[in-house]
């Protein structure tokens, strides 16, 4: 079974600074997708960024980028120029190419300090 591990229950960052959230996963499959979702206090789960395993290039979405290390099964999220609105719970998630369900990590609570 696939597992996703987020080893940082809480992180904090100063506004305008950069923070990196860690995620590791375990799978025996070669075709899969990785995601970072953000869940603010409103509870709405919002997709931040996605990465296809077959792509070597790291995904980037504006201030959000990932460091995808396939051999190490690592998928970290970097948030640049942090804003107060980035404060939320961040979940790393995995989906195999065949099974459409998402497997989530336990989350990292990010606090942005003014």
């Amino acid at each position: 079974a696939q597992t996703v591990t987020q080893s940082q229950p809480e992180m904090s960052v100063q506004e305008a600074e950069t923070v990196t959230l860690s995620c590791t996963y375990d799978t025996s499959e070669s075709d899969y997708y990785l995601f970072w979702y953000k869940q603010p206090p409103s509870r709405q789960m919002i997709l931040v960024i996605r990465q296809e395993a077959y792509k070597q290039q790291n995904a980037t979405e504006n201030r959000f980028s990932v460091n995808f290390q396939k051999a190490a099964k690592s998928f970290s999220l970097k948030i640049s120029d942090s804003q107060l609105g980035d404060a939320a719970m961040y979940f790393c998630a995995y989906s195999s190419g065949s099974a459409r369900q998402l497997t989530f990590g336990s989350g990292t609570q990010l606090t942005v300090l003014p």
Partner: protein, 114 residues
């Protein structure tokens, strides 16, 4: 373009009762997945519906059942409620054919079992 909607927003039940939660997928999506998110944890996959049939199921007992209607909306039913069923229930939708396996989430239904 309406996103994923869920009803009700909050629900309070007592042990032993039955509950039905409802979900309408994002326009153009025909696959609906349900997740249970206990307080402080990541979402856990319950099951997924496509073409009115359960396509995949997570590690949840038979007390959890579902249905998908011809208009792609879905219901989650939980029988014989117990305290441990208290959680946020999230519905997510996706198109049957997707390049990324990404899912779009609704705001959730908060279920409290007393």
């Amino acid at each position: 373009d309406a996103g994923v909607t869920q009803s009700p927003t909050h629900l309070i039940k007592t042990r032993g009762q039955q509950v039905t939660l409802r979900c309408s997928p994002k326009s153009g999506h025909d696959t609906v997945s349900w997740y249970q998110q206990a307080l402080g944890q990541g979402p856990q996959f319950i099951f997924q519906y496509y073409e009115e049939e359960e396509r995949q199921r997570g590690n949840f007992p038979d007390r959890f059942s579902g249905h998908q209607f011809p208009n792609y909306s879905s219901e989650l039913n939980v029988n014989a409620l117990w305290l441990g069923d208290s959680a946020l229930y999230l519905c997510a939708s996706s198109p049957a054919i997707s390049s990324y396996n990404e899912q779009f989430f609704g705001p959730g239904t908060r279920l409290t079992v007393l």
